[in-house]
Subunit: 248 residues, 2 copies
DNA sequence: CGGGGGTTTGAGTCCGTTCAAAATACGTGG
DNA sequence: CCACGTATTTTGAACGGACTCAAACCCCCG
């Protein structure tokens, strides 16, 4: 039931320079004093994760936070029966594990890389110090958390009120913003970082149900699926899926 | 489908003194400077809500926040099809609407009183000023939001992985902490502020399903239900409901 | 006593699940 | 580069939990 597990190996250490980091002006960590960036640059630990490798695991003590330099990371939650859901995808510039850090306890989720990803780990002490010296930094985390909470509440409503097919269509519409490329012919093409069971875990459904629903969407000409590639010939058809209510 | 609606009337103005408020030391607003409390006391607007009356409605501009002095408030979210869920219950000392305020936009939820409740409304400007002068206040909202996010993520997992009966048992266990009284004979008694459809809205189920599930729990001797009163003769039986996994 | 909402009960249906097996993709080692 | 073993995805058939629709019931209040 749990997805990751092919790569018990550790991520490799790599070297990244904070001053030239591409995320300098789009992460929560932008606008730090040069002196703070200097400290950060010296203290941070940069790691290269292969798909399936874990950034941290549910239940572990929270020893710091993780900033994604490149790649895609899945945040998951499991219950005592072994059920898991994929709560959200995180991308370059985003900070992972900040919630558990701010709450001060141990990790309430797990995080694993979906594709090759480089991530900088910032220790507990460094985060505290930076947070103390930069009130604006804390404020940015508040904004981020408010957004995550809004997304989570939307998911609660969706999951308990809308059928899988509509949730899947909704997911594809979200994913197209980041993973979609529009061809000259007006045909939209997505290259997803997600396996079928990841899609299932996001929607709170079984992989079998996802396979069947994808098939149904193909039959109706809404999209074509081949591995992790999605072809959407007519975006309006996909938009109809989320507009038209279940019944008629 | 939407629950509130019996009381289109406005809540009545009442007068409450911040200095003698019972929530002085348990709300997010504790430990303010006396000067700040003085300003708060003059500027706040205190209102008495009857069951069903709305504190604010989804889509409205967010003009401030609401601190519950007494009572119970339901925070709900609706989608464009008219589906609604009850996201959380809030009680004396808790602040409602803070998330939408911090995010800076309009309300993404609605809030309504479940029982007679008194609530203090603090305007946008006052909150900003207090937040600027008291970094600790912001920090307390962060803790609170982290907790709400954790709860929301738990709900996502529960809703998509556990059957209604187990979620209902889980809910009763949560509610007993606040609404339960233990009799001398070891019999637990709950007096809920919730109607059947509120329970349904919390669990993301239909009222009919809740009626049937309550009936099933009675048949199995786990609990007895009469109106909003719940009798739990043996807590262990209820605990079993959330421990034993669906199958056997 | 007569509404009017909320709740319960009943019957039937459907969506998504479960279980099992076949088909496909994929990484590995020969 | 191909063959093999494993993991993932797909398909099929059957089940089942929760939903829908509808009617009866209840309780509270006027």
């Amino acid at each position: 039931m749990s997805r990751p597990g092919r790569f018990p190996s550790k991520p490799a250490r790599v070297s990244i320079n904070c001053f030239t980091c591409q995320n300098r002006d789009r992460s929560e960590w932008c606008n730090l004093d040069p002196s703070d960036v200097k400290v950060l640059n010296e203290r941070k630990l940069c790691l290269a994760y292969a798909p399936g490798q874990m950034l941290y695991e549910q239940g572990e003590a929270c020893e710091g936070i993780f900033v994604i330099e490149q790649g895609t990371v899945a945040v998951r939650k499991a219950d005592k029966f072994g059920n898991t859901v994929l709560l959200r995808l995180c991308h370059a510039g985003e900070t992972v594990g900040y919630r558990d850090f701010l709450a001060g306890g141990s990790h309430t989720t797990s995080a694993d890389a979906l594709v090759n990803s480089t991530v900088c780990r910032i220790g507990r002490g460094e985060v505290r110090a930076l947070l103390d010296r930069n009130p604006a930094l804390g404020l940015r985390f508040v904004q981020r958390m408010a957004q995550d909470l809004e997304t989570a509440e939307d998911a609660i409503l969706q999951t308990s009120a809308l059928p899988v097919r509509m949730r899947l269509a909704h997911l594809l519409l979200m994913l197209k913003d980041r993973y979609g490329t529009m061809g000259d012919d007006g045909v939209l093409k997505l290259e997803l970082p997600l396996a079928r069971q990841d899609i299932a875990a996001i929607l709170g459904a079984r992989p079998e149900t996802i396979a069947r629903t994808l098939h149904a969407l193909e039959n109706d000409g809404v999209a074509r699926f081949s591995g992790r590639t999605v072809i959407i010939p007519d975006l309006d058809l996909l938009l109809d899926e989320v507009e038209r209510l279940p019944g008629p």
